[in-house]
Symmetry: C2
Subunit: 402 residues, 2 copies
């Protein structure tokens, strides 16, 4: 029998219990042993719940029980998750987590600590919800020099952008509805400002390079400035507006960024809608590979955690290969990164625009009098910023990918 303790009985934690209970027989077969949930840790009480009798409030009960082989954490936040992870691993227990804050902050240290203790620290659910992406990077895309990773990594913002595109509503209206439906938090900052996607692209960039990409180094821009008017232009152009987490290797330089982008129909992530996530990985041998699925939600995320539990149950005292050194990857300043820009300016004329930006592609929206929209040629962020500083009438700009 393999014994599991689940930390946190919120959405993901209760999902872990539900996945294991629902597919118990099949999971036992795949583990090659019985997988038993021995404890659930939560500060709250759950009278009448199926975990009532295995609920504990004190982490030491789990830590001091030598029968517990695997600790699965679904509490979120850096503390006490970090302390709990260290203690579990140092006690010779396997640890897995859906907690992107923990992984983005302490990933290399916990991977290394697990190796020292001949156990595992796994985190499939920390990026892309139910989508298999961490293990494919660590165990399948290994022959490749990965030169680019771009992903729609946050379900909440993708839901908001999809609704804005389809319904023509403005940001605040859609956000309010998303909150009512439970797709957005009451405090939506981590999602809509891109902080969540930032941690996720930091984790992916770390794993494809084997080094530590500090999420605090990543230039991050959310979607709060995207308006219904931007979507009118996008519709005319046949483009879709998404928020990407991006990592790119170019001429030996590394760039990472979170920002809204416009993409066309030929982009593999073009039709990733609603709360779905999609991650495109470009290798120098395999070319483009894309992974798609539910980026959030109770059961998909729990399924990813349970896949880690199963892998750990199959390798209780043997560390599965993950290359993630604590050597920091130096990201280049985003000012050297190049792309085209979609721009809206007010109270000006086409000559003045081309006088500043050179030749551009004007977009005929045909309904707004006092502004002009256009797409620039490819230029660096720095060049764009310099031009923008000279003009004082830029309403907005969105990067155009591809």
């Amino acid at each position: 029998m393999v014994n599991v303790a689940v930390l946190g009985y919120g959405t993901v934690g209760s999902g872990i219990v539900e996945v294991i209970k629902t597919n118990q027989e099949l999971i036992n077969k795949r583990v090659g042993d019985e997988l038993n949930i021995k404890y659930v840790l939560d500060l709250r009480e759950f009278p009448g719940d199926i975990i009532e009798n295995i609920l504990v409030h004190d982490y030491d009960v789990i830590l001091n029980d030598p029968e517990v082989n695997i600790v699965a954490e679904a509490m979120g936040g850096v503390e006490p998750a970090y302390t709990f992870a260290k203690k579990a691993i140092e006690s010779g227990k396997n640890f897995c987590t859906s907690n992107k804050e923990l992984v983005a902050k302490h990933g290399p240290e916990l991977v290394e600590l697990a190796k020292k203790n001949s156990v595992n620290f796994l985190f499939e659910a920390s990026v892309g919800g139910g989508i298999p992406i961490i293990r494919p990077i660590n165990e399948s895309l290994t022959p490749d020099d990965v030169v680019e990773v771009v992903g729609i990594l946050n379900g909440t913002t993708n839901y908001i952008l999809t609704k804005m595109a389809k319904e023509g509503s403005d940001f605040d209206t859609v956000l309010r509805r998303a909150q009512e439906l439970g797709y957005a938090e009451k405090n939506p900052e981590a999602d809509v400002e891109g902080y969540d996607a930032c941690r996720k692209i930091a984790i992916l960039a770390s794993l494809v390079t084997g080094k530590y990409v500090d999420f605090e180094d990543i230039t991050t821009e959310g979607i709060t400035k995207i308006t219904d008017v931007d979507f009118k232009y996008a519709a005319v152009l046949g483009l879709s507006i998404k928020i990407f987490g991006k990592f790119k290797v170019k001429d030996g330089k590394y760039f990472a960024q979170v920002c809204p982008v416009m993409i066309d129909k030929s982009h593999p992530l073009y039709s990733v809608e609603d709360v779905k996530n999609g991650i495109l990985v470009r290798g120098n041998m395999v070319g483009d590979v894309m992974f798609y699925g539910s980026g959030a939600g109770k059961l998909p995320t729990a399924s990813a955690v349970v896949s880690d539990i199963i892998e750990e149950a199959r390798h209780l005292n043997e560390t599965i290969n993950i290359i993630w050194s604590d050597e920091k990857l130096n990201l280049s300043d985003i000012k050297d990164s190049e792309c085209r820009f979609f721009v809206r300016v007010k109270n000006t004329d086409k000559d003045a625009i081309e006088g500043n930006f050179g030749e551009v592609e004007f977009i005929n929206l045909g309904e707004i009098d006092d502004e002009i929209g256009f797409i620039t040629r490819s230029m660096s962020e720095e060049t764009f910023a310099q031009i923008a500083e000279k003009m004082d009438n830029i309403i907005t700009r969105i990067r155009v990918e591809g």
Copy 2:
């Protein structure tokens, strides 16, 4: 040092050498040891080629060299690949292959034999070319009861269908061009008749159930009867015509089929075009997960083989978990499978059609006088066949998914 022998120096075999040589340093780091290509086996000579000095013509040289840890096969066909695989594994060597005929025919036996000998038999490249799909099924989707797998599994036919859709050309014209470009074989039967996709869906269905799905039990229909007129109807309907390998569990029954299908924009495989492949897996917990990438081609396929080589190099004397018993999975007769049908009939009227099929959705193509196109309600294959037998004027029918 980990020593590899490559069997076959054709497209994939030479790709394996190229992938390893190109990314040698990175691959060594990921293996944790030097990965060395010690032999290449081929009947031909390759004077001046980089493998000239490691080329052998006699398999026994490889078999009898105790330094060879891994044999990677890229010859294709059941024999001599099967004999070579057995001998390698019985000699305590790991084996991996891109050969779907070998895997579909002898998979369970070779997996079992590898387990007995504490080595590995891996076959990531046998389905989906460079797309990670075998390992994600075996190691990531493990918490899930997989209830459906549908895939665009053959690059050649997807290329042909994409060109027919975009250019309005007929099948023979596009096939001829695909042959000229090297996207289709001189004898295109295995691709265009669906035999290749049939073996691939048999492998996927086997792995998600853990049993043996015999490809010879799978009802298989190719794309040779699809015409430019079918694409005109599809365009009016906003549908795309693809050839799917399908596996589905419904009410405890298992169905597998290869056939052309019409799908709409909301289907995750709708925009998989040209030689790309896409595979959608539906689990009872994770929901829909989709994998996309190059389904064929030298370097993508070779990258998948090298990912197996790297996993084997990391687990030289330890069998990675693959559940694939030789117990045969009994597929249900496809006559009980249900879907809607797109149908074209000639020389009849709408009343006669609805007299036979009940209420249908007529399609107004507006340019062909003597035929009527329509989509039926959902019905079993058997019901459809019975109605079709009564009528003698059906030109064609294509299944409609979703």
